[in-house]
């Protein structure tokens, strides 16, 4: 849905022909079959799992199907800090990614128009990190930011960090990792909208005596809204469910665990499948609601 925002919003000039709906349905069939098989079936299975109850006299990890709504109450009361934290971190990462990406995308898409070679080169640089697994890149950051690393020892020498301070295992490290990992997802949609920005609108703005800031606020920003919405969605949704950056094995510590880590622990270690499933459903539902409100508020429903 978010991908619709990549295309320019052109109003359809003609009504689509309505007669051959049977053929349209037939053409949709593979897509529908795919969704039923790989989206709907797992979703139903997940929903049923989330309602399971422990088997009477059962061993660890043995559950039976039931309508145990209590699972949802239990995970909410136990893990509400992780739920709040997940969305907090995802929000912070999205805002930071936007702050970094917007000038970058503006430069590539607008300022570098005169030099197509530079433009393509910079785009390649934005995408280049994808050539290396993001697990490896995150591990590399962990090394770069470790206590005995050049970066941290220098900061300590300059008294910018206290002698006992450290970076890995803190919320800053996790938000840093999330921001870093999702910047390309923010930059690319922003670039696609800014690249088509008609500069004559900006000229018109300054001809009408608007200062550069007003031109940006009244012209550039509204025109790049589709890119902002697409970019924030592409960043926020996966960031909220991310469990790599916050994992204790990567940039996180015991007090930075997000929902994904809680789901992992419940599924793999505690074998509490209903709790893991209930948390997954809550995560999905919460994202759906938050994204719905966001899209409604930003007045871009027609873009989706």
């Amino acid at each position: 849905m978010a991908f619709a925002a990549f295309s320019t919003a052109e109003a359809p000039t003609e009504q689509a022909p309505r007669k051959k709906s049977r053929i349209a349905l037939f053409l949709l069939l593979p897509g529908i079959a795919y969704l039923v098989l790989f989206f709907l079936t797992p979703l139903v299975s997940l929903l049923l799992t989330s309602l399971q109850a422990p088997l009477e006299f059962g061993d660890i990890g043995q559950y039976q199907y039931a309508f145990n709504w209590q699972n949802y109450v239990d995970v909410m009361t136990t893990y509400w800090p992780h739920i709040v934290r997940s969305f907090g971190y995802a929000l912070a990462a999205t805002v930071f990614a936007l702050l970094f990406s917007y000038p970058l995308a503006y430069f590539i898409g607008v300022k570098a128009r005169r030099w197509p070679l530079l433009q393509s080169l910079m785009l390649v640089l934005v995408i280049a990190p994808f050539f290396i697994s993001f697990l490896l890149r995150t591990l590399a950051w962990k090394q770069i930011l470790s206590d005995e690393s050049f970066v941290i020892t220098s900061l300590k020498a300059l008294s910018l960090l206290g002698p006992d301070a450290h970076f890995t295992g803190t919320p800053f490290a996790v938000i840093f990792g999330l921001t870093y990992n999702f910047i390309p997802f923010m930059t690319l949609p922003l670039y696609t909208t800014l690249e088509r920005l008609d500069l004559r609108y900006l000229e018109a703005g300054s001809d009408l005596y608007a200062n550069p800031f007003t031109v940006f606020r009244k012209v550039t920003l509204p025109l790049s809204m589709p890119g902002i919405v697409a970019g924030t969605l592409l960043t926020f949704i996966p960031a909220a469910g991310d469990y790599v950056n916050a994992s204790r094995d990567f940039l996180g510590g015991p007090d930075t665990q997000m929902m994904g880590n809680v789901i992992e622990a419940n599924f793999l270690v505690l074998l509490n499948y209903p709790a893991a499933a209930a948390l997954s459903i809550i995560l999905m539902a919460a994202i759906l609601v938050l994204v719905g409100i966001y899209v409604k508020r930003s007045g871009t429903e027609d873009l989706l």
Binding site: Q64, F67, Q143, D164, R248, L268, V269
Partner: protein, 394 residues
């Protein structure tokens, strides 16, 4: 594939009924369904053995857990293939007990082949497999070398008389520290909580090792009869150290990265690893079993319930219980071998190796190492939940 789907559907009769109930048949069907299960879950039936005609074997094991030469071959395994004519497909398929279990548990419950005819997993996980009927009973007649099994490991509480499992390699969990930062070394778990180590201590995410060491420090015999009270006391210690920021992080295998990068200067760690990172990253670390004692764990061979090559697997186990072969493996992997006579065989190759207490521990060293007692399903659930709540923070 269709067959396995049908098998799954059969195994989950429950789910079909419940779905019906969900679709509108009402709660009565659900109540009926709930009654029909009774307690517990039926154990799967072991597959028939076809080893006589099928001379292949799939072995799933952990990384860096068998002797390997420079070109990536496994010399002892090649010798086994020549000797027996059994083609072994050795796969490094296990990187964590829990993730491996998560991957194969559904097939195991149905008694299906999991793609491995023998797999090496840690004591507590083995205990679960045996309890659930996921392991095949071994035929000791096919493993005459069983006589070489070290006496201390012959009768573990999870597998009396070793009917289902045989140790592959073992190790200690103890404490280690950076020698450059702490030339005097550490002696006990209590030393990890000293103020100068604040924020630079790592502990393992393996509950039995971290909690085991803390309980030992508290004076509890972890192999013996202990309960909630002793466990809670140890949980309190760990909670305090994590919340005060004394403990920097709680990790699995990745704790080695923290030691190497210097994020942690001391840690609860596994014996074999320290030999390896000293070789890799300069001779900087030292391992010791704490004064109050360390934990001893083993990874054990077992034959999954769906395997049709049990006799081949037994031949493999028998082969690795030859002292000479065991010595060759131990010299490479740096873990403790369960085979009596391997020490003497190793002394013939390299006398210094045979004296290494972390590979060939003597009685005195072994007396300091304790095996965490087996937990029932309910205990496991409860104790793991308490431990995980520290790992996940609030």
């Amino acid at each position: 594939m269709i067959r396995s789907l049908i098998a799954r559907a059969r195994a989950s009769q429950m789910s079909r009924r419940t779905m019906l109930a969900g679709a509108g048949a009402g709660a009565s069907a659900l109540a009926l369904a709930a009654c029909s299960t009774g307690g517990g879950v039926a154990k799967p039936t072991p597959a028939a053995d076809e080893s006589a005609t099928d001379k292949t074997l799939n072995w799933a094991n952990w990384a860096a857990y068998i002797d390997e030469d420079d070109s990536g071959n496994y010399p002892t395994l090649q010798a086994f293939e020549e000797q027996t004519g059994i083609k072994v497909n050795y796969e490094v398929a296990v990187d964590d007990n829990n993730t491996y279990y998560g991957k194969v548990k559904d097939q195991l419950a149905l008694g299906q082949d999991i793609g491995a005819d023998t797999v090496c997993l840690t004591d507590w996980m083995i205990a679960r497999w045996i309890r659930f009927g996921y392991a095949q009973e071994l035929n000791h007649d096919n493993i005459p070398n069983l006589a070489n099994l070290t006496p201390a490991l012959q009768d573990p509480d999870f597998d009396k008389g070793r009917q289902f499992s045989l140790p592959w390699q073992g190790g200690f969990a103890g404490i280690c520290w950076n020698k450059e930062a702490f030339p005097d070394g550490l002696a006990s778990v209590e030393d990890l909580w000293s103020p100068e180590l604040k924020g630079r201590v790592g502990v393992l995410s393996e509950m039995r090792d971290t909690m085991g060491l803390i309980m030992l420090q508290n004076g509890v015999d972890i192999a013996g009869d202990w309960g909630d009270e002793e466990y809670s006391a140890a949980i309190d210690v760990l909670t305090e150290q994590v919340e005060s920021g004394q403990v920097r992080n709680i990790k699995g295998n990745a704790y080695l990265e923290d030691l190497k990068s210097g994020d942690t200067l001391a840690a609860i760690c596994w014996s074999g690893d320290i030999t390896v990172i000293n070789a890799e990253a300069g001779d900087k670390w030292e391992f010791a079993i704490p004064e109050a004692g360390g934990t001893l764990w083993n990874d054990n061979f077992l034959v999954p319930v769906g395997s049709t090559r049990k006799a081949n697997a037994e031949a493999l186990m028998n082969y690795y219980y030859e002292p000479e072969v065991a010595a060759e493996v131990a010299a490479w992997v740096n873990y403790i071998t369960p085979v009596v006579g391997a020490k003497e065989a190793a002394a013939a190759i390299d006398p210094e190796l045979a004296e290494n207490q972390l590979i060939f521990p003597d009685e005195e060293t072994l007396s300091k190492a304790h095996i965490f007692r087996s937990l029932s399903g309910a205990e496991e659930q409860k104790y793991q939940a308490e431990f995980q709540s520290i790992l996940l923070g609030a």
